[in-house]
Amino acid sequence: MQAFLDLLNNVTPGLLQGTVITLQIAAVSLLLGMAIGLPVGVGRVYGPVWLQRVLGAYVTLFQGTPLLIQLFVVYYGLPDLGLTFGRMEAAFLTLGLNSGAYQAEYLRGALQSVSEGQMTAARAIGMSKWQAIRSIILPQALRLVLPAWSNEVIAMLKNTAVVFVIAVPDLMTQAKNLSSRYFAPIPIYMTVAVFYIILVGAVYLILRQVERRVQIPGLTGDAESAA
């Protein structure tokens, strides 16, 4: 037991440093994914047919292939085409593009579930199509998408764990280095698992609060009691 506590004492600072990087990657990639997913989701519903096709192909490509291989293509493959990224940039870009595809799909589902009458009524008071999308449809769809988006945040936290394969100094990379330094992979990876559990648990609790905060009064009362 004492030996384990000593080990814990030795590895915790490194793991905490890695945690900061992990959170940073998750946050930047989520924002990048949002910046991609928002227009892609809207374009897939309201864009012209050719655009819907192109965006659909992007979504299929990123949802239909493993994140790990996407990371290899971006970090090791794209330099062949003259596009070279640093480790962090490659992590942001890959996770962001991957998350963007998922976020776009969630948003598409939410946009399609806003009733058609909302658009009709918005057009009837003289809004243009894009005005209606921006002030009427999107605010409703963004509320509807929140539960799915919360899952995406948690998936993202876990997905970041693969970036150690390109030696980004995240939680996993730290764990890998420390376990070869101390020859104790099992307790160290177990500790890492606990780190992830705490991160995921904390994010889960925060997001539930947010979901509660943005509910439309009267509308979601039933969903609340059912949950």
Partner: protein, 252 residues
């Protein structure tokens, strides 16, 4: 009596794919007229309203709103719609906005009013429909009748020159129709030009200046309510009006 019509519909056709819904519909409406449009389901009443405000532009034919031909190429449809208020059967209130927000959003986003000004006007419109005390409620917290009155206030906020009502009371429980019809009657009294698709024959008798019976995408017969109800020219008109009057009687 004859001034320039506020709305002139001339030989309008509308098809959806292979289905022809309007087949040469023509009608002129004078300012301050209240026209009640009746007809069997599928006769094209809702489609006609959606053609008038260009939600579904006509396949052919022309429509003038005041001096402007709104079916002419190059006309900005969004601007036309601002002058035509529309009230829907299923309200279509914006779910994520309060009653006040529903009335304000067109004022701030379309009419580009300042927030303060929009707020005051929206409160005034809610006052007109008797719902100032519900301003902060969300649609899901309102009764059907209240929702429809908010929808009317939302349309009024755009300062429309003419109002279209698409079966405004048919989604309501019978005991809630009264409050909506009252608001509409008040509007008529204030001189609002209105086209109302409705089977509320009591309202037609009391408020309408003209009843138009349409079937198969064209006008069959039109005239003042008294004439339409008591001595219609066509047997079809008589049969239809009797049927819906009877139905209404059964309900009550």
């Amino acid at each position: 009596m004859t001034t320039t019509p506020i709305l002139r519909i001339d030989d309008v056709y509308k098809s959806f794919g292979a289905t022809q819904v309007l087949k040469g519909f023509s009608l002129s409406i004078q300012p301050q007229e209240v026209v009640v449009l009746v007809g069997p389901s599928g006769s094209g009443k809702s489609t006609l309203l959606r053609c008038i405000n260009l939600l579904h532009p006509p396949t052919s034919g022309r429509i003038w709103l005041e001096e402007e031909e709104i079916t002419a190429p190059g006309v900005n449809h969004d601007r036309v719609r601002q002058r035509i208020g529309m009230v829907f059967q299923d309200f279509n209130l914006f779910t994520h906005l309060t009653a006040l927000g529903n009335v304000m959003i067109g004022l701030t986003k379309v009419r580009k009013m300042h927030k303060k000004e929009a707020h005051d006007l929206a409160m005034f419109e809610l006052e007109r429909v008797g719902l100032v005390d519900r301003a902060g409620h969300y649609p899901a917290q309102l009764s059907g009748g209240q929702k429809q009155r908010v929808a009317i206030a939302r349309a009024l906020g755009m300062d429309p020159h003419i109002m279209l009502f698409d079966e405004p009371t048919s989604a309501l429980d019978p005991e809630l129709t009264g409050e909506v019809l009252e608001v509409m009657q008040q509007l008529a009294k204030e001189g609002m030009t209105m086209i109302v698709v409705s089977h509320e024959m009591g309202f037609a008798r009391q408020v309408a200046s003209r009843v138009v019976f349409m079937e198969g995408g064209v006008v069959v017969e039109e005239g003042p309510p008294q004439q339409m109800f008591e001595q219609p020219k066509y047997e079809r008109t008589r049969a239809f009006l009797r049927k819906i009057t009877d139905l209404e009687g059964d309900e009550k």
